[in-house]
């Protein structure tokens, strides 16, 4: 069992977490070519080694960023998402 650290709840077992995708994969704005949409929707960095990822702690429902090594599985403590990105478009 791996232990991940939610920035709000602390260390918890891996089964409480859900992988939410690569961090920094921002949705393109405006009228963009089809390939830019394909990049956003489907293409991935898929890094070997250090990876910056979005995770969700299913028990507290918080979304956060975690740096994880995709070879050794070592996970750094999760970081809260900076507020300037969470504020975006909350209508």
């Amino acid at each position: 069992m791996h232990i991940y650290t939610c920035p709000f709840c602390g260390p918890r077992p891996e089964t409480e977490f859900h992988f939410g995708g690569e961090a920094g994969n921002d949705r393109p704005d405006g009228d963009v070519p089809a390939q830019a949409w394909a990049d956003y929707l489907h293409y991935r960095q898929n890094p070997k080694g250090a990876a910056r990822e979005i995770w969700i702690h299913l028990t507290c429902h918080e979304v956060f960023v975690m740096t994880r090594d995709t070879v050794t599985m070592a996970a750094q403590p999760g970081e809260p998402i900076p507020s300037d990105t969470t504020d975006r478009g909350d209508a």
């Binding site: 069992m1 891996e14 992988f19 929707l41 293409y43 991935r44 960095q45 070997k48 995709t70 599985m73």
Partner: protein
């Protein structure tokens, strides 16, 4: 030296203590230049080399493998072969493969131990039964074999299943592909390697491709741990490491690498005469020729390049198997392992030219590319020889992610990969 495998040669060699058998393939030093270099000595890379030589007469070919032949997913999979897919494009691809498998032992003069014992996808709810009826209809329309079974049909071919009324996974029925089954994974890799080597292909192991030679915006060969090797065309068949190699070539792929694990029990007497998949748990099993119960299931939940699985997934897979077959509770597990599989959003492979001219792709097989080795090799060989798509590979081009013509088999056949 004796090369051909036959009963007569076996008897003859028996008389002289089996000292006269030639090595299955030669291991030469890499040359400075080839017509085609194939990166990756798994089943797809080796089959590509074989068909380049056999079908297209291109024999100045090298397969470059960083470890040993079949040491990737080809030697780590649970060996199920089948073509029970939904979309016509997929059936054309996997049916081509199954047809080639049916002749492969003869074609390669190497026993790949194809055993067409049938592949059964179980259903546990009325909704799953309806989806299975749809799948069976689609398969029949697309020209492959498929039958819809009810509970009694399942009981007849798999009496050991848990038919108790309080089973978590009651067998309402299932979709059977009688021509599905298993084949010996190592034999597929070794058979293609041996046959390709006999036609003049260089099989080079313990040699890692570290970069591409890019000149004038096109691929001109590879850099390896044994020096530079120039080539007119390069084929990439590195499964879970496709994104890593693509990055060196200057592009990205719609691929995420995950660990997929499997395990086998101690050998027991014949008890399970079919390859069976349980939709409820995602677990599946078959019995090997040695008697081991070979067990697999769904992907680990986390992107990974670590060639091992995580415990919660293994627990989930085994819980599913024990619910399906309570008698297996007594079995001891002998081995457990993982492979790094290349998962694509629509669960279909990527075959075609890459964004870098002269570099061609064969990847994205995810959890299900063993069954596709003969077809994947045929199609990549066609691309490398002609520079053009084969009709069967055209729909699997990378361009489908921009055009939106996805071939979503997770939705189509409900196969979770």
């Amino acid at each position: 030296m004796t090369r051909h495998y036959s009963a007569l040669n076996l008897a003859r060699e028996g008389l002289s203590g089996h000292k006269g058998w030639a090595r299955a393939w030669t291991s030469p030093e890499p040359k400075k230049r080839y017509d085609v270099v194939i990166v990756g000595g798994g089943g797809h890379g080796l089959a590509t080399a074989y068909y380049l030589a056999k079908t297209h007469g291109i024999t100045n070919v090298a397969v470059i493998e960083k470890g040993w032949l079949g040491g990737g997913n080809t030697g780590r999979n649970t060996t199920v072969v089948r073509s029970n897919y939904f979309f016509p494009e997929s059936v054309a691809l996997y049916e081509m493969s199954l047809n080639l498998y049916e002749e492969l032992s003869k074609e390669l003069n190497y026993n790949v131990m194809l055993s067409q014992r049938g592949m059964l996808m179980l259903c546990h709810t009325p909704a799953e039964m309806e989806m299975s009826a749809r799948l069976v209809n689609a398969m029949q329309l697309n020209g492959t074999d498929a039958e819809l079974l009810d509970t009694e049909g399942v009981r007849k071919i798999m009496p050991i299943y848990n038919f108790s009324p309080d089973s978590r996974f009651p067998a309402l029925g299932g979709a059977l592909q009688p021509r599905g089954g298993t084949a010996r994974h190592d034999a597929v890799a070794w058979g293609y390697a041996r046959a390709a080597s006999a036609l003049g292909v260089d099989i080079i192991q313990q040699c890692e491709v570290t970069d591409f030679l890019i000149e004038g915006g096109a691929c001109r060969g590879v850099k390896t741990t044994q020096g530079e090797i120039r080539a007119d065309r390069v084929g990439l068949a590195v499964a879970g490491h496709s994104s890593q190699m693509a990055e060196k070539a200057g592009f990205r792929l719609p691929v995420t690498s995950y660990a997929l694990q499997a395990c086998v029990s101690e050998p027991v007497k014949p008890i399970l005469d079919i390859a069976v998949h349980c939709a409820g748990s995602g677990s599946y099993a078959s019995q090997s020729d040695k008697g081991e119960i070979v067990i697999g299931g769904g992907l680990d939940r986390v992107p990974s390049y670590g060639q091992r699985g995580t415990l919660p997934t293994l627990e989930h897979v085994i819980a599913g198997i024990l619910e399906m077959f309570p008698a297996f509770r007594q079995l001891k597990l002998m081995r457990q392992w993982g492979g790094i599989v290349d998962v694509v959003p629509d669960s279909s492979p990527l075959i075609g030219p890459s964004p870098l001219p002269n570099l061609f792709l064969n990847c994205g097989w995810g959890t299900g590319g063993f069954k596709a080795i003969p077809a994947g090799g045929t199609l990549l060989a066609h691309l490398l020889a002609t520079g053009q798509h084969h009709d069967i590979s055209r729909p699997f081009d990378l361009d489908r992610f921009a055009t939106g013509r996805l071939i979503d088999e997770a939705a189509g056949s409900g196969i979770a990969h």
